[in-house]
């Protein structure tokens, strides 16, 4: 506790950095994965290649991806943008499959009924498919939220500052309190963002009692 009170401003700054690195990739991967997942669910031909490709991306170790992505994207190694890009890749790797499963869960009858009552394809997507896919999509998103928050810390070993910096610093200087603070805060941030997702889903899908 003593260590924490003396380093409160540093911890606060790292916490802010951590949030700034974890929220954009979550939103980006959601924005990219929903259309891709819909595409995979709707088409028999695209499904297998899309899901296999995103599944293999997930197999790449995070540290390796942090190093491989910058030269591909023309980014510097130690930058927030690298981190956001890499975490978006992971987010999509999990979410594209989740979104495909979510759109698969929309009953065909409902889709046909909506088409028969004159919904355009666009209206069908926004007013029928997306709301009905919501609950399954949410559970996939929650996995992405928690794993993204945890993965951000790995960037600390290549020098991208986040709560993970508390691990590398604490390890090099032999301060247990620093590492423990980092672990507790990372888990707390993960659960907090997860809870926010659930609350947002309740507000957006009031007809659905969201399962915890």
């Amino acid at each position: 506790m003593n260590w924490l009170s003396q380093n409160l401003h540093i911890v606060g700054q790292l916490l802010a950095d951590h949030l700034a690195l974890s929220i954009p990739p979550i939103l980006l991967s959601l924005a990219i994965s929903v259309p891709l997942g819909r595409l995979a669910a709707g088409s028999g031909r695209l499904r297998a290649p899309l899901l296999t490709a995103t599944g293999l991306l997930y197999a790449i170790p995070s540290l390796a991806l942090f190093v491989i992505l910058p030269p591909i994207l023309g980014l510097p190694l130690r930058s927030g943008a690298t981190m956001v890009a890499a975490l978006t890749v992971y987010g999509c790797a999990l979410l594209v499959r989740g979104a495909a499963d979510a759109f698969d869960s929309v009953p065909e009858d409902v889709r046909l009924a909506a088409a028969a009552t004159g919904h355009s394809r666009w209206a069908l997507f926004w007013r029928v498919e997306l709301p009905l896919a919501g609950p399954v999509l949410l559970s996939a998103l929650r996995v992405v939220v928690v794993s993204t928050v945890s993965l951000v810390t790995v960037g600390a070993v290549i020098g991208i500052s986040s709560l993970g910096t508390l691990f590398t610093d604490g390890f090099q200087r032999g301060i247990d309190a620093s590492i423990v603070t980092g672990i507790v805060l990372t888990v707390a941030v993960a659960f907090l963002l997860d809870a926010l997702c659930v609350l947002a889903a309740r507000a957006l899908m009031p007809w659905q009692r969201v399962r915890a």
Binding site: L56, P61, L63, A64, V146, F167, G170
Partner: protein, 237 residues
């Protein structure tokens, strides 16, 4: 793109395999270490998971463990154990075991639980003993999902074993961290590419094993993708 050329040249350069970096030894270290962790996780997790799935008791524990483990930052676990246990292989071994256990446990539990109760009842009705039910009915039918759990654990372990070099100087993370210090970006990239390839090869091997198990469990119906999806559903929710 120059960097990629440099990285590939470094991988293909025989000196990288014999000289300072000893790539062959690093790859073997990486694989052996990961395999040891996975074996330990399987020895602990599979019997426990099977017992939970078979009896239906302790289900809440598995769910809490798997969702809790996902939030736990790997690097934090590695460094705190590193401080506690000192430099060496013990800390990363323990940290990786903590990471590998939940998916293995969840896979074994979900696999046994997903076996159709009517099938189990039928086996009992024709006079199978409880052990025979387990060994001849539940396990073969659960195998694809159990292997699915091992597959996610293996992925996690191979990936984190790279990070383990941060405290134990072993495996393919070793050239990566060394090059990070000396700012040899080509070497870093080369090591990263090797790790990624290794992970992909292991993933494909597990995919093949899982497909074989699925064909054996349900020769007429289940495609490996569906079994995998089911395993993911159980372990990820």
């Amino acid at each position: 793109m120059n960097l990629f050329l440099e990285a590939i040249q470094w991988i293909l350069d025989p000196a990288s395999w014999t000289g300072e970096h000893q790539l062959g030894a690093r790859v073997l270290e990486h694989l052996a270490f990961s395999a040891a962790v996975l074996l330990a996780a399987a020895l602990l997790g599979i019997p426990a998971g099977i017992a939970i799935g078979h009896s239906g008791r302790g289900r809440g524990l598995v769910i809490a463990l798997t969702s809790g483990a996902r939030a736990l930052p790997t690097l934090g676990l590695l460094t705190i154990l590193g401080l506690g246990l000192g430099i060496g292989l013990e800390a990363p071994f323990l940290a990786l075991l903590v990471l590998a256990l939940p998916p293995v446990l969840a896979g074994a539990y979900a696999g046994v639980e997903s076996v159709d109760r009517a099938t189990v009842g039928a086996a009992r009705a024709i006079g199978f003993t409880e052990w025979q039910v387990l060994a001849c009915v539940e396990l073969p039918l659960a195998a694809p999902v159990i292997i699915g759990g091992l597959r996610s654990a293996a992925l996690q372990v191979i990936s984190t074993a790279t990070l383990a070099a941060y405290i134990a100087d072993t495996g393919l993370g070793r050239p990566l961290f060394r090059a990070l210090k000396t700012q040899e970006y080509g070497v870093m990239l080369g090591a990263s590419i090797l790790v990624a390839l290794l992970a992909l090869v292991v993933e494909l091997c597990f995919h093949a094993i899982q497909s074989a198990a699925a064909r054996r469990a349900e020769p007429h119906r289940t495609t490996p993708r569906r079994a995998h999806a089911r395993a993911r559903e159980r372990t990820h929710r």
